[in-house]
């Protein structure tokens, strides 16, 4: 007969599998619904500090 800890082990496997599946399905869905170039269109960050550079000497 399974005790509390055995149930916990199976629950951990189950939750892990569920979360992994959720992420995989979501990632595949995003890949199918969006243009590949749009997904990789990010550019390195800029800060408000960088928008007002000093004139080059």
């Amino acid at each position: 007969m399974m005790d509390f800890w055995n149930v916990l082990e199976y629950a951990a496997w189950g939750i892990s599998g569920g979360l992994m599946l959720w992420m995989l399905i979501d990632a595949l869905r995003v890949g199918a619904e969006h243009d590949a170039d749009a997904l990789i269109s990010s550019r390195e960050g800029s800060d408000e500090l960088l928008a007002f550079q000093e004139p080059t000497p």
């Binding site: 995003v30 990789i40 990010s42 550019r43 800060d47």
Partner: protein, 460 residues
């Protein structure tokens, strides 16, 4: 005047403030106060561990100051990778990113292993000694990865809260041992027995002294997602460093006053043991929660940082650009987060814990050594006044010189105990560099790498 052109692609979300940066940096490190630092005691005695605490504290203060200055200008995910790319060049940037990814993923795996092992200990104490820890390792990694997948604000707010609880548990334990009372439990006069292995023991202890602070430089990975990186990164990193110096000193003071160095030097969870010695059930439970939270915070921060470093490599085509994708709804580097999950699980199941720790220390050390050269070159190419900085570190180039000398000393300390690891990691990075030069660099869009709107560097 050069300005930053607005960009309308799918970018990482700018939602983080100084408290998130603090939670990220301290969260990655604080587990080192709960376990790991005390192996420095085994190398050279309790006093050696105190010397290591402060000497390595100086090393990391230099790291925090230098990182704060450079990152407040290079507000990009990838942290030290982006710095190396702009200041030195592609080969160094590739190496830096590679050891960032490996170090954080291995550290994440180590934390997941420890969190699961803590649960196994509880199960054993409650009459179930053969609990399988593997599902809990996977649960820690996947649930934190899921949190990271869903959004950086949610994951780093969570990190801030559990890190704060873990830090408070150290303060409460300090209050619990009644250091200023006549009936204090602390016995420093009896337990501090000098330096059992002399000064060579002090040098050897520096390696594990790294554990007090290792990972605070991870704050830089959040730069691209800060509302104002020039403010949040220096503020979060510096307050994080102050927090860690306080936590490390209190931890040493309590543990060295409660346990003989022969035991402390090989204890698995020294702060939890200290709480047990107070005889208070409440403190014992609180320190268990603190220990567990610190491992989760560290694993969570490592997932965040490893994914940003890997994402940056993909974005610059150092790795396939597929990894450089941003989730259109959650604005996270979702493919990098997903890709690193199975790697972390394999590390947690297959790599011994001491190997993980030593590899992380060596990877960090390599980064800090390069950092000392980076900042000198940064100041040469873009002197003060040529670009705006959110923070300017004082006494340059003294911190860079101190950092370099301390890194060399810790390399020597590591060589004393783990020469095989040291040589292995150096060979690995040399082979990786050859692979990058011969097979990967041809895919990199060279003209698009330099993204900061800075004036032309001096001398070019």
């Amino acid at each position: 005047m050069s300005t930053t052109a607005p960009h309308h692609g799918i970018n990482l979300r700018k939602v983080l403030g100084p408290i998130h940066v603090w939670g990220l940096g301290v969260g990655i490190v604080l587990v080192g106060e709960f376990m790991g630092w005390n192996f420095a005691v085994g190398k050279g005695g309790a006093l050696a561990a105190l010397i290591a605490c402060w000497v390595i504290g100086l090393l990391y203060t230099c790291v925090a100051m230098i990182d704060s200055e450079v990152t407040s200008t290079v507000a990009a995910a990838g942290g030290q990778y982006a710095q190396a790319k702009h200041i030195v060049g592609p080969l160094m940037a590739f190496n830096v990113a590679l050891y960032l990814v490996l170090a954080y993923t291995m550290l994440e795996a180590g934390n997941a292993f420890v969190a699961a092992d803590l649960l196994k200990t509880v199960a054993a104490q409650m009459g179930h000694p053969d609990l399988d820890s593997r599902p809990f390792v996977v649960l820690v990694i996947t649930s934190l990865a899921w949190l990271n997948y869903r959004g950086v604000f949610e994951s780093l707010t969570f990190n801030y809260v559990i890190t704060a609880v873990a830090f408070v548990s150290i303060l409460v334990l300090f209050w619990g041992v009644q250091p200023f009372s006549d009936v204090s439990l602390l016995r420093h006069a009896d337990l501090l027995t000098g330096l059992p292995y002399g000064w060579i023991g002090v040098i050897a202890s520096l390696q594990f002294g790294m554990w007090y602070y290792l990972g605070i430089e991870g704050t830089c990975q959040a730069a691209e997602e800060c509302r104002s990186a020039s403010r949040a990164i220096p503020l979060g990193t510096m307050t994080g460093m102050i927090t860690l110096v306080i936590a490390a000193s209190l931890t040493w003071y309590m543990a060295a006053g409660l346990m003989p160095w022969e035991y402390l030097g090989q204890a698995y969870t020294p702060l939890y043991d200290a709480a047990t010695l107070t005889g208070s059930v409440g403190l014992k439970i609180f320190l268990f929660v603190g220990t567990l939270f610190s491992t989760l915070a560290s694993a969570n921060g490592c997932i965040n940082d490893a994914a940003r470093a890997w994402f940056s490599l993909g974005r610059d085509r150092y790795m396939p650009p597929w990894f450089g994708a941003v989730h259109p709804r959650y604005r996270t580097p979702f493919r990098s987060i997903l890709f690193l999950i199975p790697i972390a699980v394999v590390f947690a199941w297959q790599v011994p814990l001491d190997g993980v720790i030593t590899f992380s220390i060596l990877a960090g050390l390599l980064g800090y050594t390069f950092m000392s050269f980076n900042v000198v070159r940064f100041r040469q190419l873009w002197p003060l006044g040529s670009i705006k900085r959110g923070y300017v570190h004082p006494f340059h180039p003294l911190p860079a010189a101190v950092l370099f000398m301390l890194c060399l000393t810790v390399f020597f300390a590591t060589f004393l105990g783990y020469a095989d690891y040291l040589i292995s990691i150096l060979v690995f990075f040399m082979l990786a560099s050859v692979w990058f030069h011969l097979h990967r660099y041809k895919f990199v869009k060279r003209g698009e790498q330099f993204t900061m709107p800075w004036p032309r560097p001096r001398g070019y």
